[in-house]
Each structure stands twice: as structure tokens, then as C-alpha cells.
């Protein structure tokens, strides 16, 4: 009798936990939507921060994230290819794989401090390039990991069939193996993009923030996330409102990209 009661208790507690988790998700999303939607006006999108809008912030955040992606993707994918296709089984590959995995969980603020020392201090001012590099440093290990794992799912026979036709190794990797893993690798890139577009800490002292619209990456660069941090601490109501609007929009963007990524992989068996 005791066993059955214990079982029931554990099952109920587990179910409660699951609904607690779900509950927080809805609580956060509902709060965000409620405060956020009320704070959005047309001017939110057409004006820059200096005038109470977030236009320059959206452009700035996306610009940095996109350029970081352009840097991180070739490096990350090539590294993943090396780990799985050339170095497979070697000590170098397993050590690198571990190091890369560790880097994916490394504190983002430390990366910000690192890039500050490298690219801000010597130059004397915050700049957009430093922010981009910090974001790229966060992206690369994630892409290495997903590329490595997706390539591993490609059956070995496919590689052998390519070789058997007289293909050279690098052609087979690019034309057959990578192609077969195309969906998974792209999703990995998409999800890492969603991750870095919501980051604040690596930008705090690299690209900092800019109230004005600018595309000059050698200067302080506008950031949606850093702005939220600043605005939330101002005492006036307009700043608070803008912070909510920005938070809501940021969250929607991040969740949308995530759902997009999951949608792409839903057909994979």
C-alpha cells in the first residue's frame, strides 16, 4: 500500500513541477505582452532612442548580430567539419570538442571583459566592432557543436558511396555530407543567432550604446538589450514604458526565431 501511495505522491509532485514551469512561462509572457503592447506606438519604430523610440536600437542590434553571424558561421562550420570529417578519433578532436563545449557555457560577461581589453582599451573608445567580436566569440563554439553533431548523424555509407565513385574527400564533404546535414546545420546557426541577439553582458563595455541612429561601427553602437538595462533604471515613466516595449519586441523576435528553427527540424526523422 505504501508503495502505491509513494508512487502517487511523486507523480503528483512531478506534474505540479511541470505546471510550475509552464506557469512561469505564461506569467512572464503575459506580463510582457500586457506591459509591452500598451507601450508600443508607431513612433516606437520610427524614432530613435534620443526621441523615445527604438528604431536605431533594432537596426543596431540586428546589424551587430548579422555581422557576427557572417564571421562565426564559416569559422564554426569549418571547425565542425574538421572535428567530424578529418580529425575524427584523434586526441586533438576530442580535446577541442570538450573545449568548445565548455566555451558555450562560459560567462558572457567575461567575454565582454576580454574583448574590452583587446579592442576597446587600446583604441580608447567603445566601438561596434568590439561588440561584434564579442558576439562572434559566443557564437562560434555553439556552431562548432551543432555542426559536429549534425555531421555525425550522416550515415557512413553515404561517404563511402562518394569515395567509391572516385570523389576526393573535400568534395564529398561539401557536396554530399554537408548537404545531407544541411537542415540540422542551418537550424544550429539559426538557434545560435537567436541566442546572441538577446545578449546584453557582452555588449555592455564593448559597443555600449548609442542614442542616435548610426552605422558607424568605429563608435559606440546602438543596442536594444543594453538600452533595456539602462532604461529600466531611469525613474521617469516614459523610460520605463520604452523598456517594456523594447523587452516585448525583443522577446517576440527571439521566440519567433526559436520556433522557426524548431519548425525546420520537425520533419527530421
Amino acid at each position: 500500500m505504501n508503495r502505491l501511495v509513494l508512487n502517487k505522491i511523486v507523480m503528483i509532485l512531478s506534474t505540479i513541477s511541470a505546471f510550475i514551469g509552464l506557469g512561469f512561462l505564461f506569467w512572464i509572457l503575459i506580463t510582457l505582452s500586457y506591459k509591452g503592447i500598451a507601450s508600443i506606438h508607431l513612433s516606437t519604430f520610427t524614432k530613435d532612442l534620443v526621441e523615445g523610440g527604438i528604431r536605431n536600437l533594432l537596426v543596431g542590434q540586428f546589424t551587430m548580430a548579422l555581422i557576427a553571424t557572417v564571421i562565426a558561421v564559416p569559422l564554426g562550420v569549418l571547425a565542425g567539419i574538421y572535428l567530424r570529417e578529418y580529425g575524427h578519433g584523434s586526441k586533438f578532436a576530442s580535446v577541442t570538442r570538450t573545449l568548445s563545449d565548455v566555451m558555450t557555457s562560459a560567462p558572457s560577461i567575461v567575454i565582454g571583459v576580454f574583448v574590452f581589453a583587446l579592442m576597446v582599451d587600446p583604441v580608447g573608445s567603445f566601438n561596434g566592432w568590439a561588440g561584434i567580436v564579442a558576439l562572434a566569440i559566443m557564437m562560434i563554439p555553439i556552431i562548432i557543436g551543432t555542426t559536429d553533431n549534425m555531421l555525425a548523424l550522416v550515415p557512413q555509407e553515404l561517404r563511402e558511396a562518394g569515395i567509391a565513385l572516385g570523389g576526393s574527400k573535400h568534395k564529398i564533404i561539401v557536396q554530399i555530407v554537408l548537404k545531407a546535414a544541411k537542415v540540422g546545420v542551418t537550424t544550429g546557426i539559426l538557434l545560435s543567432f537567436a541566442r546572441i541577439i538577446g545578449e546584453t553582458a557582452p555588449l555592455l563595455f564593448t559597443s555600449a550604446n548609442n542614442q542616435f541612429f548610426t552605422m558607424d561601427l568605429s563608435d559606440q553602437f546602438p543596442s536594444l538589450t543594453v538600452s533595456i538595462y539602462n532604461l529600466a533604471t531611469y525613474p521617469d515613466a516614459e523610460s520605463r514604458e520604452l523598456a517594456w516595449a523594447a523587452s516585448f519586441i525583443l522577446t517576440m523576435i527571439v521566440l519567433l526565431i526559436n520556433l522557426l528553427g524548431r519548425y525546420f527540424t520537425r520533419n527530421k526523422h
Binding site: 550515415p155 555509407e157 561517404r159 558511396a161 567509391a164 565513385l165 570523389g167 554530399i176 545531407a180
Partner: protein, 266 residues
């Protein structure tokens, strides 16, 4: 009228093979002739080394470094008439050249993630053939030779992944045949297929041997006796017996062979 001249196109001589890190060789001093335009079957219980031997013939073991070769595998050079040891080939372009002369079909169908047309054209494009009308012609011929032209001709641009298992395997055969190889190696090509597809492929093999020499590994004895002209029985890395198929199945010389054929083991 029938020229019954037996010509050796490949000759395995005292060939031993050790897998990377293995304490002992998997193949022990194998000797095996492969005759032109004949089907040679390799049979034996699991682990006897038949696939290992087959895979040595197109040097696909090279993908997994650390192995050891001993002995020779001679391949007939069509132009000079001389036998050349393919185990001596080192450079990548030499190995590529070898694999364009000796093709391989695997147990699981391996269509590439591209269209049917691109699959068949893949090997041709690797060879540098770019002219579209030339490719079109070669692709069509290959698909016909692979007995899949009728099913494919209206879907050439569609993904090969949409074909059934049996169709995919015939596509893989067409893909290899497109390169006009001298020898085709089949590693249990029908074990993953249903009986009807199996029948279609067996028919195809019998057609193909008119122009191509075939070596086939199979664990299905009935298939070996149906299809092949010559059969070799292997056990624990040794070649126990090699003879014309009728002799192997009706009148085996070795007791071990007889025990395997009659189902006493394996």
C-alpha cells in the same frame, strides 16, 4: 561461336589484411581470381571476411587508416595487357582513378541528397564532363543500363530520396555504371530489399555481366547459386574453396564447404 576464353581481370595473391589495432589478420593469404564478364560470388558465415576482401578491391579501407596489407591484388591494365598491383597505389589521384574503374554498391541504398539526374551525373562531373547534352546522353544510358529509366525519366529533377528502396538501389547501380567501370563490386546489395526488388536487381546483374565483371558478396546461398558463375567459400579469413558455382553447390571438395551449403552452420 561462343568464345569461352577465360580472362583474368583481377588476381588476388596471398593477400592478408589486418584491421587497425587488431592483434591478428582478418584475411589470411587469400588467393582469388576474378574472371572477365563473369559473376563471382563470395559466400560464408558472418565474420568470415568476405566483405573485408571485397572492400580491399577498391581500396576503400583507405578511409580508415591504420590497417595493414600483405600480398598483392593485381588488376589488368586494358591498354598494356599487364597486371598491376593496386595495393601499390598511394597518391590520391591514383586511388580516384582506381575507383572510377572499379565501382561499389553497398548493402543499404545510398542515394545522395540531390535530384535523380544529379545523382547519376555526380561521378561524371567529378571526371570533368560538363557539356550538358553529353551529360544528358550519358545519364539516360546509365539509367537504362540500371533498369530504372522508365521509372525515372519523368522525375529526373526530383529528389532521389523520394524513390522506393529497390528503386534507390537501382539508381545507385546506374550511378556506378555511368562511369563505365571494368568491375562492379556488390556488398550484399539486396539484403535490405523486398523479394520483388531483389528479383529485379538479380535480373539486372545478369544483364550487366555482359559488359562488366561482377563480384558479389552475399549471405543468401540461393542467390549465389542462381546468379554466379564462380563461387568462393570463405571461413574465418581463409578461402576454403573456389570453383565453378555448379561444383561448389553440387559437388563441393571440402567438407567445410559442404557443411555450410547444407546448413549445418552459419
Amino acid at each position: 561461336m561462343e568464345s569461352n576464353e577465360l580472362q583474368k581481370v583481377m588476381d588476388v595473391k596471398d593477400f592478408s589484411f589486418t584491421y587497425p589495432g587488431a592483434p591478428e589478420p582478418t584475411l589470411k593469404a587469400n588467393n582469388l581470381p576474378i574472371y572477365k564478364n563473369k559473376i563471382t560470388a563470395l559466400i560464408g558465415p558472418s565474420g568470415c571476411g568476405k566483405s573485408t576482401l571485397l572492400r580491399a578491391m577498391n581500396r576503400i579501407h583507405d578511409l580508415y587508416p591504420g590497417f595493414k596489407y600483405e600480398g598483392k591484388i593485381d588488376l589488368l591494365n586494358q591498354d598494356s595487357g599487364k597486371m598491376e598491383n593496386i595495393l601499390k597505389l598511394q597518391k590520391e589521384n591514383e586511388l580516384i582513378g582506381l575507383r572510377q574503374r572499379i565501382g561499389m554498391i553497398f548493402q543499404k541504398p545510398t542515394p545522395f541528397p540531390m535530384s535523380i539526374y544529379d545523382n547519376v551525373a555526380y561521378g561524371l562531373r567529378l571526371q570533368g564532363i560538363k557539356n550538358k547534352s553529353e551529360l544528358d546522353g550519358m545519364v539516360e544510358k546509365a539509367l537504362k543500363d540500371g533498369a530504372i529509366w522508365k521509372e525515372a525519366k519523368d522525375r529526373l529533377k526530383e529528389s532521389a530520396m523520394g524513390l522506393s528502396g529497390g528503386q534507390q538501389q537501382r539508381l545507385c547501380i546506374a550511378r556506378s555504371v555511368a562511369l563505365k567501370p571494368e568491375i562492379l563490386l556488390f556488398d550484399e546489395p539486396t539484403s535490405a530489399l523486398d523479394p520483388i526488388s531483389t528479383g529485379a536487381i538479380e535480373e539486372l546483374l545478369t544483364e550487366l555481366k555482359k559488359d562488366i565483371t561482377i563480384a558479389i558478396v552475399t549471405h543468401n546461398m540461393q542467390q549465389a547459386s542462381r546468379l554466379s558463375d564462380y563461387t568462393t567459400f570463405m571461413y574465418l579469413g581463409d578461402i576454403i574453396e573456389f570453383d565453378k558455382t555448379e561444383n561448389i553447390f553440387l559437388n563441393p571438395a571440402e567438407k567445410l564447404t559442404e557443411d555450410y551449403i547444407t546448413g549445418r552452420f552459419g
